[in-house]
């Protein structure tokens, strides 16, 4: 094991490049959808780009009985189908797949973990992975405490007291808890056996190139940072819009809902990056600190005014892309009288010097007219009585739009004179498209995140206090919704959500952006 104090003389001075360390990765729930669609394609592409550690192997851990060969064949099919780069490179796959293994066991069987330990020790010798371990829990959240306890009990998780010894890290998928109480409970359970530094809470939005670009945009462009405050900004809209319904995830969605699945994690992460103060450094710790500060500055939604600040909706039958679709209550595995929300709109206020008076409007919904995730910063209007408003027509406010997906890029809307005599003022767009400039498909979020975990960088993972701050803000909303009965469904599929959501902005003379 390379001691922390060793500095490789062949490394460039002040090198900031991260290198994934030698390790074995164990994926719990390896026969599930996430492994096939995201994790194995990510590992394959990391191998393809030379980003996988030199000494590495991956073990799929699941309950079904299968051999290494069958697992490798299944993963090859998955990578062939879901990799961002196709076709698969046969020579590369042949050498990569030799590092894939399968281990059958139930999650609760100590014997299975003991066998795993022996197996991993053998793999350590074969691949010289120095005892380092990454455990990816791609399972139902209810299994997290059990698996972590078993890992600890069977010597598969190491204490962090020896900084020169091998390390062990656990990646946990969202959601982290269902509300504040369960999140605190889960944290207490897992920290019986893990130090916070060993816990990597994945939010795949943070691995997206466009989300990482938000930090670059804000802090490497003084032109924006100088106006990134309540002197210049009127309001911020954050939208996560999906045209698809819940599909085959009826069971999951009935337990989760939009607030838990999207708002509490992805949208609060976007908001914290948009609203945070510049970090003192680019270390994970500094960035997380600033995100937590801004989350803790968000004013709690007034209890007597939930209905004006927190709107929920559920899609009914309608039309998407011209085709008829069923409503949420008609979907498979959904209670025909379900009151689970598929749409959320919130108005939030951040009480700090930078953002006081600037509302943040969040909306997330399924079965909306199109797929789009964006952050829109709308700037204040030109002063009343301004020269170009004398004609009585209000000119458009400038807007900076950051498109997270699809059609990743940014646009600035500004006003321009239409050529001609006595011509009106017309808004125009300065538009940057990632695809036009950097045509090659960027790394998938999971590639970046897996690589960062192996390199020990927690920047793009959610820290526990960020998660708890989000839950603290949103749990009262969940409780209020639980106690009240909504009139569902309240928007047709293919529309932009319930009318009640428009009221949130209308009360301050604003409107939702048309995407």
């Amino acid at each position: 094991m390379t001691p922390v104090s060793f500095v490789n003389p062949l490394e460039e001075e002040n090198s900031t490049s991260k290198t994934a360390a030698p390790c074995l990765m164990v994926i719990f729930g390896a026969t599930g959808d996430l492994t096939a669609r995201k994790l194995l394609p990510a590992l394959y592409n990391l191998a393809r780009e030379g980003q996988l550690p030199a000494h590495f192997a991956c073990v799929g851990f699941a309950r079904r009985d299968k051999s290494n060969e069958v697992f490798r064949t299944e993963m090859r099919d998955a990578v062939n189908k879901y990799s961002r780069i196709k076709p698969i490179d046969n020579a590369l796959w042949n050498s990569f797949s030799e590092q894939l293994y399968y281990h059958r066991s139930e999650f609760h069987e100590d014997e299975g973990y003991q066998r795993l330990r022996t197996f991993l020790n053998d793999l350590d010798l074969k691949y010289d992975t120095k005892g380092n371990r990454v455990y990816y829990l791609s399972t139902q959240p209810s299994f997290f405490p059990l698996i972590i306890e078993k890992l600890h009990k069977n010597g598969l998780i190491y204490p962090t007291s020896n900084p020169h010894g091998p390390w062990s890290r656990v990646i946990i998928e969202k959601p982290f808890g269902n509300d504040l109480g369960s999140a605190i409970g889960l944290q207490q359970e897992i920290t019986k056996f893990l130090d916070e530094s060993q816990i990597y809470r994945i939010d795949h939005y943070l691995g997206k190139e466009t989300v990482q670009n938000l930090l670059i945009l804000r802090f490497s462009n003084p032109i924006f940072e100088s106006i990134w405050n309540n002197h210049s900004i009127d309001h911020v809209q954050i939208t996560v819009s999906e045209e698809i319904g819940i599909g085959t995830r009826g069971n999951f969605w009935e337990e989760a809902g939009m607030l838990r699945d999207i708002v509490q994690n992805h949208m609060m992460q976007l908001l914290s990056i948009i609203a945070m103060e510049p970090p003192t450094s680019l270390t994970a710790h500094s960035i997380h600190d600033e995100k937590v500060k801004v989350l803790e500055s968000i004013r709690p939604i007034p209890k007597n005014n939930f209905d004006k600040y927190a709107i929920r909706g559920q899609y009914g039958p309608g039309y998407i892309n011209g085709e008829p679709v069923i409503g949420y209550r008609e979907e498979n595995n959904v209670n025909p009288k379900s009151n689970v929300e598929t749409y959320v709109a919130l108005e939030l206020e951040i009480d700090n010097w930078r953002w006081s008076g600037v509302p943040f409007f969040l909306r997330a919904g399924k079965r909306l007219p199109k797929r789009a995730t964006e952050v829109a910063i709308t700037f204040k209007s030109a002063p009343a009585g301004c020269l170009f408003q004398i004609a009585g027509k209000k000119i458009d406010q400038n807007t900076l739009v950051i498109r997270i997906q699809p059609d990743e890029g940014m646009a600035v809307k500004m006003n321009c004179k239409v050529p001609g005599i006595n011509s009106p003022i017309q808004p125009v767009k300065m538009d940057f498209h990632y695809g036009s400039y950097f045509g090659l498909s960027p790394p998938e979020a999971y590639e970046r995140l897996l690589c960062d975990c192996m390199a020990g960088d927690t920047t793009l993972f959610a820290r526990v206090d960020e998660v708890l701050a989000s839950w603290k803000l949103l749990t009262p909303v969940l409780e209020h919704w639980h106690e009240t009965v909504p009139q569902f469904p309240n928007y047709a599929s293919g529309l932009w959500g319930p009318q009640a959501a428009d009221v949130i902005l209308a009360k301050s003379n604003r409107g939702w952006r048309l995407l």
Partner: protein, 355 residues
């Protein structure tokens, strides 16, 4: 759409037409990331440079200005040809300029109006830039990066000296040798193989290094430049002193001194027709006590190397490592054009050039 304007002596009207056509191009305005000026002294680019340009123009939208010498002894003057659609869907526009020797001094003046404002200017120079006096001196003050091939020169030591001086005279321009970029894959491998105090010490106090390089026939004068860069890089990082030993046949030898002992480093040629001349194709390192040997060689038909570590008593299981930049591809081109230039490169050329 191709607009061919051939003229023995371009008039302002003809050239104005090219500029006008660029501005009024009927194709939709496309993105451009940078201006790329490619300069060759021949009618065509070498295969390797062509591969680099191909990779660039199929991945990154750019304005490409391609300058060639005309080999036709009857041709006097400058020809300009504009392809507004580019030779593929990605490149924004391509301008081809062909010039006879006597008209080379006009080239910079033709290039300046063609450059897209606010975008970096990259110069990809096929001949030795350190002795080129017609076109480069006027362009380099505006360039963000100059990319060249040390193999194009006749004396590597003198080249490094001249390039260092040129670099010092133009601090705003980054200098990048494609041989250094080709080497980065091997540097990364060595960092990974010798990544512990024990192995690092074994490397520092080794008993002999043999670097295999591709000596396939080509018009390259210096197929050993990459090997030289690699050895100098190791010497610079590990505090070795290097003295050349007179060349024996095709093998280069160097006497290397550490604090405690000396050893011999050797460059051994190997013929690998499908690789760029000079590409490193293997490494052998013997530890000081001769007890351990590190052998690193590319795996055929894969972009990987196999690392064998053996001693008199044991033979460790070989493992493989990815080898980046073996051939022009997206990562290689990204390193060549976008990645920051290593300080180690500057130090290495200073040492080689005895500056």
């Amino acid at each position: 759409m191709t607009t061919a304007l051939t003229s023995a002596d371009p008039t302002i009207v003809s050239y104005e037409n090219v500029l006008t056509k660029l501005r009024e191009s009927q194709t939709p305005k496309r993105a451009s990331l940078f201006n790329l000026v490619i300069y060759t002294k021949h009618d065509f680019l070498s295969d390797y440079f062509q591969a680099i340009v191909q990779e660039i123009t199929t991945q990154f939208p750019c304005r490409l200005i391609y300058v060639q010498h005309s080999s036709d002894p009857n041709h006097e003057g400058v020809c300009i040809r504009l392809l507004t659609e580019g030779s593929n869907k990605v490149t924004s526009e391509e301008v081809h300029i062909k010039s006879s020797q006597s008209h080379l001094n006009r080239i910079p003046f033709l290039i300046f109006p063609l450059l897209l404002r606010d975008l970096p200017v990259y110069l990809l120079w096929e001949p030795d830039p350190s002795v080129e006096h017609d076109v480069l001196p006027l362009l380099i003050p505006y360039a963000s990066r100059l990319i060249y091939d040390a193999n194009a020169t006749d004396n590597l030591t003198q080249f490094c000296k001249r390039i260092s001086r040129l670099k010092n005279s133009h601090p705003k321009c980054e200098f990048n040798d494609i041989n250094w970029t080709l080497l980065m894959g091997w540097q990364h491998i060595l960092r990974q193989v010798f990544d512990s105090p024990t192995s690092s010490e074994q490397l520092r106090n080794n008993n002999g290094i043999e670097i295999y390089f591709n000596s396939c026939k080509s018009d390259q004068m210096h197929p050993e430049s990459q090997a030289t860069y690699l050895l100098e890089w190791l010497a610079n990082s590990l505090n070795w002193e290097i003295l050349p030993i007179p060349k024996k046949n095709d093998t280069f030898q160097f006497s290397c001194k550490t604090d405690s002992h000396s050893f011999v480093a050797q460059f051994t040629p190997k013929n690998c027709a499908n690789l760029y001349p000079g590409t490193i194709v293997g490494l052998n390192i013997m530890t000081n006590d001769s007890k351990k040997e590190y052998s690193i060689e590319p795996i055929p038909n894969q972009t990987k190397v196999a690392v064998h570590i053996s001693s008199q008593e044991t033979c460790e299981l070989p493992f493989s490592l990815p080898l980046a930049n073996l051939k022009p591809g997206f990562p290689y081109v990204k390193e060549l054009f976008f990645s920051p230039i290593s300080n180690q490169y500057e130090e290495v050329i200073k040492v080689i050039g005895n500056v």
